[in-house]
């Protein structure tokens, strides 16, 4: 195996992208934009060309759009060989080959991994297979759930009140469907935005007719004789009748296929340097393997060089472009991926946006507007600096707060702003849950010794 020169790589090299996703597509486009004329292979386990996920929990569930119409717009032709519906199953780093589920092997000179995450399934597989139990991550998930909502279920149970769970609840209410949300934490969105904002989100849900139950877990799902889900048992002892259950317990990173490859990949993602080059398990950076999107974990200088993995649309685009640029550049021309985390959500008629890393914040102050009006800017502080910000229906100011984060501006915010209310002069604890006590995703205890004996059981919070 000889090292190809950059020039040779650009002209007739082989680039393989694993993950026909948003990140994969944008990377492929950038690769061609950079003048790469060699062979480009796109590998995806789903049978579809890259599509957009945000509409799946919004417009698609509302019936305003269909899952089939979420294909991502193309910025340019990428002239790729598509291997869709074929999962990558292994990686031989020494021989530079990706193994596919159909037994084929694809050689590469540069590899980009953008395999993303998948929905965390309901931990009890038999219950998860009941008719009427859904997760929401893929296009097929979105289409199936939308069809079921079209049929007019009597009651939907959403397990988990993170962003996706809350958006699903919002869509149900907008369609006039009865919905219960069960959340293990004290409020919706509490893991991402803390208890102060979580309380606003809780109020918002209840006012919109959501039967919100916090501090409880779903311990079991029960089906009828035909295998359709009919009820859920909660940790507070109650039983809830429902005919649709959406499991919304966060995501798992798609890294299992890399097990044993020697790449630094695990349940928390694939570690990479700021230039998107993957680490191997020895902590040595690779030269030919790059990572982008939800599956990547990269150090961020603005946030203490912490390894962040972000499930953000904008991050996927930006990281893909950086990875593509770097894989076709000499070392001195490479760029770091220093995107400031940002995401948005739309629920119950409110536009929620955030920048920075609110969950690092210990305090929050309402710099503009008011919680009562649900139109505000909340600024998060960490050790005397601004670390994040969230807006409810106030997004146009967010760019300013991003700049404050980028310039490590002091916290509490010392200056007056237009629309500063009396309650916004003092910071208060942001009220994030104790990170040592898991709130998102059930706690699972493993028991048994031999692999065949191993069992998973729930451990409800505080019990």
């Amino acid at each position: 195996m000889h090292e190809v020169t950059l020039d040779h790589l650009k002209r007739e090299g082989r680039i393989v992208v694993v993950g026909a996703s948003l990140a994969g597509l944008r990377a492929a486009e950038t690769i061609r934009d950079k003048g790469f004329t060699g062979s480009l292979t796109m590998i995806g386990d789903e049978p579809y060309e890259p599509y957009d996920r945000p509409p799946l929990s919004k417009g698609v569930l509302l019936g305003k759009s269909t899952a089939e119409r979420t294909a991502l717009p193309r910025r340019r032709a990428i002239d790729a060989e598509w291997r869709l519906g074929t999962a990558a199953t292994g990686l031989d780093m020494a021989a530079r080959r990706v193994r596919l589920a159909d037994g084929d092997e694809v050689p590469y000179d540069r590899l980009l991994i953008a395999t993303g995450v998948r929905a965390r399934p309901w931990p009890n597989a038999a219950e998860g297979e009941l008719d009427g139990v859904f997760v929401l991550r893929t296009r097929d998930d979105g289409a199936a759930l939308a069809r079921r909502l079209d049929a007019g279920p009597r009651r939907v149970l959403v397990i988990g009140a993170g962003f996706t769970g809350s958006e699903i609840a919002s869509a149900c209410r907008e369609r006039g469907v009865q919905v219960t949300v069960a959340e293990r934490g004290d409020a919706p969105l509490v893991g991402a935005l803390g208890g102060v904002i979580g309380a606003v989100a809780a109020e918002l849900q209840r006012e919109n007719g959501v039967d919100l139950r916090t501090g409880v877990m779903v311990t079991a799902l029960e089906g009828d004789s035909t295998g359709r889900v009919r009820a859920a048992h909660l940790s507070d002892g109650t039983t809830l009748e429902c005919d649709v259950v959406v499991v919304s317990l966060g995501a798992q990173r798609n890294t299992e296929w890399l097990a044993g490859s020697g790449l630094g990949a695990g349940p928390r993602g694939i570690a990479c340097d700021a230039g998107c080059r993957a680490f191997d398990i020895r902590g040595i950076v690779t030269d030919d393997i790059y990572v982008a999107g939800d599956v990547a974990r990269s150090p961020h200088p603005l946030f203490g060089y912490q390894f962040l993995s972000l499930e953000h649309w904008g991050n996927a685009v930006s990281q893909a472009e950086t990875a593509a640029h770097n894989m076709l550049s000499v070392s001195t021309d490479r760029r770091p991926h220093i995107w400031v985390p940002a995401f948005w959500s739309s629920q119950f008629g409110v536009n929620i946006k955030s920048v920075g890393v609110p969950s690092m914040g210990s305090e929050i102050m309402i710099a503009q507007g008011s919680l009562a009006e649900r139109r505000f800017t909340g600024v998060y502080g960490y050790q005397g600096r601004v670390i994040g910000a969230v807006t409810f229906d106030n997004a146009r100011w967010l760019q300013f707060y991003q700049q404050q984060i980028e310039t490590t501006a002091p916290f509490p915010v010392p200056f007056p702003t237009v629309d500063r209310r009396p309650d916004g002069h003092r910071p208060v604890p942001a009220d994030f849950p104790d990170p040592s006590v898991p709130t998102h995703g059930p706690t699972i205890t493993l028991s048994g010794y031999s692999p065949a004996d191993r069992r998973m059981t729930f451990t409800p919070a505080g019990h």
Partner: protein, 412 residues
Amino acid sequence: MTHGILSDILDYANRANPYPLYEELRRTPVFHDGSGPYVISTYYEIQGLLHDPRLSSDARNLAATAGDPLAGEAEEEAALPPSFLKLDPPEHDRLRRMTNRPFGPPHSPRRVDGMRDDLRAIVTGLIDNLGDPGRIDLVDQFAYPFPVTMICRLLGVPREDEPRFHVWADTLAASLDPDPDADPAERQRKTHDSRMELGMYLAGLIEERRKHPGDDMLSQLAAGHGQDESMSTMELLSTAALLLIAGHETTVNLITNGMLTLLRNPDVLERLRREPELAAPLVEELLRFEPPVQLLPQRTPLVDIEVGGVTIPKGSSMWLILASGNRDPKRFENPDRFDPDRRDVQHLGLGSGIHSCFGAPLARLEAQLALTELARRLHNPRLLEDPPPYRQNAVLRGPRHLRIACDEVRSA
């Protein structure tokens, strides 16, 4: 009065082409000559300030207006309370939100698009009546009457009253702009009188709409529903006056500047004739290249702020020169080139942030339709004078007349 480059910008002699002055200004991104306003001319700085919550649009936060030739009018003398254009949140948000209810999504999602047929009919009618193809004044015969007719229809203002409010609107638009030859007290009195008369006119109209509501915006604003309490009569008058004036003073210039630019770039004009779908990107590039609002003279910091290494003291008056930011080479490649194929065209032509142009969707549609139809129906059009005579105003900049000729006005 300011000397040097700011007075050059205001000087009518430079109206036809202020861009070399802006280029000079950009060498000092935050320009201040000691007594005048702080003038910001570079893209990223303007963009940042438009999203800066420490910047107020409310003239009551202005400490000293001395030295700012664009801040001459004392607000407390005004006949109407400030419109949301000159207010900060939460008052701004409340009024803008209420105004938006009958105008756009989520409550009135198809209002603007539903006007497409009306707009096309007005455009067709105006072009049909252009008369002698050898002597067309595109401003008087087309670019002015088109948006005026449309904003009247949208608001529910009788079109036949146009000659009355035309005079008031002209005076009010001119009040944004210094006229070195006029007596300031006399100008202030005229502005005050115009606002008063316009207010009284609108008050009568609103009274009428309350009794006999139609589906126009005035009727719906007067009816006022939703979670906010309804507008007070004075708020309603200010809002209506804002919509009426901003609804046409700017679009006239957008269309006229557009046609002027197209006539100076005949290849693009020819392309538009063949590919009407070019209209959308073309109008965006136009908003970058020749924005109808050249600068925003009404922002003031609530605290000392630092911009580009310069500290701007609390209460200072500031000008944000949008037209200069739009030609900043640090932001746009070949900024002085008019290029409708430009993909990266995040211009400042409609502002940005919470005060970004309320009427943008309507302005865009009007300009797209107007330019497409003119390109399609005027055969071999050409400028009779270049540059054309401009309006006095340096803020709302555009030709006063655009005299053109063509071989023939094709039938619709």
